[in-house]
């Protein structure tokens, strides 16, 4: 067993795990943050996406011990208690979720996509950016709409701030 220490959603957290433990299982089982999901075992579905040191990663593709020392944001920590991040709000407004299982990974990917390419996103680049996230319910139609709407809103917010 190895001790893993992480800053998760702004708080220092640590736990013991086997060397083979994946980050996603550490987050779910040792830290009790079950918003991050496991939808496959070949790093294809993206239900497990979290942000590590500010960038999206599939938390099934990294060992917990490799992540030790890093700063992690999960879906639970994306917005303040009881609040919604603009991307979360846009998913609700545009019905970008149905069963909710892929949703945390979708939202975390979308936030990263907007962080990287915000203000320049088009339907085509959003669809390309979601290549690593699978949704079986929505046909992606409303997810794409929600991300474009959130991007526009966040761009307006940035302009207002300037």
């Amino acid at each position: 067993m190895t001790k893993v220490t992480l800053t998760v959603n702004g708080r220092a957290m640590s736990g013991e795990c086997e060397d083979r433990t994946l980050l996603v299982h550490f987050i779910r089982e040792k830290l009790g943050l079950t918003g991050t999901h496991v939808g496959c075992d070949t790093t294809q579905c993206g239900a497990c996406v979290v942000h590590m040191d500010g960038h999206s990663v599939k938390s099934c593709s990294i060992l917990a011990v490799q992540a030790s020392g890093s700063t992690i944001t999960t879906i639970e920590g994306l917005a303040g208690q009881g609040e919604l991040h603009p991307v979360q709000a846009a998913f609700k407004e545009h019905h970008g979720l149905q069963c909710g299982f892929c949703t945390p990974g979708m939202v975390m990917t979308a936030v990263d996509l907007i962080n990287r390419e915000g203000g320049t996103l088009t339907e085509e680049t959003v669809r390309a950016g979601l290549e690593g996230n699978i949704c079986r319910c929505t046909g992606y139609h409303n997810i794409v709409k929600a991300i474009l709407a959130a991007d526009a809103e966040m761009a307006t917010g940035r302009q207002a701030a300037e």
Partner: protein, 781 residues
């Protein structure tokens, strides 16, 4: 239309928890002392088990026990059953082979469960499973349905000689043969409907908890119908009597049919919890899901459609072989029979129809209902045939369909169904207009100028939803009634809980069911909670599948609301000294019509519970229960048009537009209905272009991961153009037809009709992968 009532585009009440990671799915559940299960599964498609040696596994770190099928059998746990009896045309009952939850002496597909390992961690359980030594004697395998019927094919169950489960028919064979002999034209076609894996994003999971003190079991499970699970586990599998078994289906991450069935794992984890004395949780990984979740489709059919000189259809003859896999799953027998052949009239007046269906065992995962369940198979067959006929007859596909549309209702088809309402031409016209069908020739010319092939195709589908009248399905062999129950519980302060036997696993019932109540009573939607998915809370229910939650589940809520309103009116009349007949309910108040007298809703609720001043003889409280049994199926219908552009160098198909025009009757929440159609179309695009379950000759599943099974991704799909037409359903109080499956039913034939239009011939099977399309283009040259 109220702001929050029926017809309003209300955003979902359930979204916040899903968006903030607060959803509670089965694998999220932990209880004190909980241990983890891993299943030892057959690596062979067909083999005898000579010996199971778990000695080494039991000695491994963290292992609590390893249990096998002989122990399960010794404890009296029953075999899995198929709940719908079908008789062959010679009168003999279907030949159901024994399905032991844990294989006892023979394994029949790769993934067949043999033993369960329970250990402190999931990793230790998995390690120990690899140390269970099984001595197999391999047997020959067969995976294709047609091959399984051939003389000399490997025998899969002793109960079913020649692997034939049943040989069933519907309709008038003689009338059909005569019409074909007399026809001006006969279109013949062979149709393959490819095998699919449903793939809800949440893999199946279960947590079995045995309470020694109470001799009571709790089962958390990823189910679309927890009450049916409890009923079947109690009545047929001898897990526990119903009063000693609580089944909870919490948040469930999609189902699409695959979570209807009671699988071996739920039963085994409950039993293992009693055997080991610890709660036992099992969560499927994705490969296990491909290996064990019931698959869908897998039909091979031969079709003859006869026309008279005016291009009117005179007869349809269908011969289908359906692959049911290694065992008969819960509703497997109904899918290729009463959910399939009864829809073969489509939207057309066809005087004579005959269908023969043979179902067979193979060494593959059991096949059962997947989104649409029989109706996609019927629609694909019919709409590919119509398209082919139009090309052979030299008429436009729209004209051939218009010539044959059913135009008066009710309409009795030759294959049981009685269509109650519809306007097929309205959807066809709406779709053609939205797709600018008339402008296609110009767009094709533009594509050709770029060196691309362009095609357009349509599909006019009908389905039967709102399943189903209990007496009718009982007479056809169903083992259960298909009503729904509801309870409307008004609290003393006027807030409301609606308990429903329907189960939401993405459909948004917490919003739409609340809209119904908010609209009726004029109370805020926040004051209404929908309770579902727990057999200890909801008295009974048949669950969610076959687009039945609106038409059947909400109709039960309407009936319960009627009773609640009637009682509330009596109380209000008593409080205001008015006549009960004069009371109306509006905007959260009970008013005396034509006066300014009113009493707020909460005050009536409170009066019912204080019981200080109730009409003489009235029981206190405001809570009513209702069961609703539908009087007919409902018949959603519509027209889908796909337009594609193909790169002849690569065979890649680009869907340049996809138009859906649907008649779902009345709609509770257009936003949610559109979402259902989007998702259904995506699954239909998956079937048509991407998805295919592939076994090798030894029964090894070659497509058991997302690296090998092509799920539709965001960049495979376009945005969709939707519209709704409305002929309200006359058989239920809300006029709802159901919208959950239409997208998956209507889209595959529209796409394949479009692609075959582009390539110029019909030799193409699903999925139309770039390789297959490229090859088809070479034969065209």
């Amino acid at each position: 239309m109220g702001v929050e009532g029926i017809g309003a585009r209300v955003t979902r009440k359930e979204d916040k928890r899903f968006l903030t990671g607060k959803g509670r799915y089965t694998d999220d559940m932990t209880v004190p002392g909980m241990k983890y299960a891993y299943f030892v599964r057959s690596p062979y498609g067909h083999a005898k088990i000579r010996n199971i040696d778990a000695t080494a596994a039991k000695a491994m770190p963290g292992v609590i026990d390893v249990l096998d099928g002989k122990q399960l059998q010794a404890d009296g746990i029953g075999n899995l059953i198929c709940g719908w009896m079908i008789h062959s045309k010679d009168g003999t009952p279907m030949k159901m082979g024994a399905w032991h939850p844990l294989a006892v002496d023979t394994v029949r597909y790769v993934g067949d469960a043999i033993a369960i390992v329970v250990a402190d961690s999931s990793g230790e359980a998995r390690d120990a499973a690899e140390a269970v030594v099984i001595d197999y004697e391999q047997l020959p395998t067969v995976v294709e349905a047609v091959a399984a019927l051939a003389p000399g094919a490997p025998q899969i169950h002793p109960e079913a000689p020649g692997n034939l489960i049943f040989d069933w028919q519907i309709g008038e064979s003689d009338a059909v043969d005569k019409a074909i002999a007399a026809a001006a034209h006969v279109t013949e076609i062979e149709i393959l409907n490819n095998r699919l894996s449903p793939n809800p994003m949440e893999p199946r999971a279960t947590l079995g908890i045995y309470d020694t003190a109470e001799d009571h079991y709790t089962c958390y499970t990823t189910s679309q119908n927890p009450h049916v699970a409890r009923l079947v586990m109690s009545a047929f599998y001898n897990v526990a009597p119903e009063n000693k078994l609580r089944v909870i289906a919490p948040d469930v991450g999609g189902g699409f049919g695959s979570k209807i069935y009671i699988y071996p794992e739920e039963i085994i984890c409950l039993w293992a919890s009693k055997k080991t004395g610890v709660p036992v949780k099992w969560t499927s990984d994705r490969t296990e899901a491909f290996l064990t979740d019931a698959h869908g489709r897998d039909h091979v059919s031969k079709v003859k459609m006869a026309f008279d000189a005016n291009n009117r259809i005179t007869a349809l003859k269908v011969d289908t072989i359906a692959n049911l896999g290694a065992y008969m799953s819960l509703f497997s027998s109904a899918v290729p029979t009463y959910l399939y052949a009864t829809l073969l009239s489509g939207q057309y007046a066809i005087p004579a129809i005959h269908a023969n269906v043979r179902t067979v065992y193979t060494n593959t995962v059991p096949v059962d209902a997947y989104r649409g369940a029989g109706r996609p198979e019927a629609t694909y067959l019919l709409e590919r045939t119509m398209e082919t006929a139009a090309r052979e007859l030299g008429v436009s596909p729209a004209e051939l369909r218009r010539t044959n549309f059913i135009r008066t209702f009710p309409y009795q088809t030759p294959v049981i169904m009685n269509y109650d309402a519809g306007d097929y031409e309205a959807s066809l016209n709406a779709a053609m207009q939205a797709a600018d069908w008339n402008g296609f020739a110009a767009r094709r010319t533009q594509s050709e100028a770029k060196g691309k092939k362009r095609g357009i195709g349509m599909s006019c589908y009908i389905e039967a939803c709102g399943i189903a009248p209990s007496a009718a399905v009982g007479s056809l062999g169903a083992g259960v009634g298909l009503w729904e129950s509801a309870e409307v519980r008004v609290n003393a302060v006027g807030t409301i809980e609606v308990l429903t036997g329907s189960h939401s696993h993405g459909q948004g019932h917490e919003t739409t069911f609340a809209q119904l109540v908010a609209g009726r009573l004029g109370v805020p939607i926040e004051s209404i909670n929908i309770v579902h998915g727990d057999t200890d809370k909801v008295q009974m229910g048949m669950g969610t599948y076959g687009s039945r939650s609106g038409a059947v589940g909400m109709s039960a809520v309407v009936k319960a609301l009627d009773k609640v309103e009637a009682k509330a009116k009596k109380i209000a009349a008593h409080l205001m000294e008015a006549s009960e007949e004069d009371i109306v309910i509006e905007n959260g108040e009970l008013k005396v019509a034509g006066t300014d007298k009113s009493v707020p809703w909460f005050q009536v609720a409170l009066a019912s519970y204080t019981a200080h001043n109730l009409p003489s003889g009235m029981e206190p409280g405001l809570k009513e229960t209702a069961f609703y049994d539908p009087s007919n199926f409902t018949f959603p219908a519509g027209c889908y048009i796909a337009e594609v552009e193909i790169d002849p160098d690569t065979g890649e198909t680009d869907i340049v537009q996809f138009v859906a025009a649907d008649d779902f009757g009345n709609i509770i929440n257009p936003m949610i209905v559109e979402g259902q159609v989007h998702g259904g179309i995506a699954q239909g695009v998956g079937q048509a272009l991407l998805e295919n379950v592939q076994y090798d000759a030894n029964g090894q599943l070659l497509t058991a991961s997302y690296m090998d099974y092509a799920m539709p991704r965001a960049d495979d799909l376009p945005s969709f153009t939707l519209s709704h037409q409305n002929t309200p359903c006359p058989s239920n109080p809300l006029g709802i037809k159901g919208c959950g499956e239409a997208g998956a039913i209507g889209s595959p034939p529209a796409l394949i009709n479009a692609i075959t239009d582009a390539i110029g011939h019909n030799k193409l099977t699903m999925p139309a992968t770039p390789m297959k399309v490229w090859q088809a283009l070479q034969t065209a040259h």
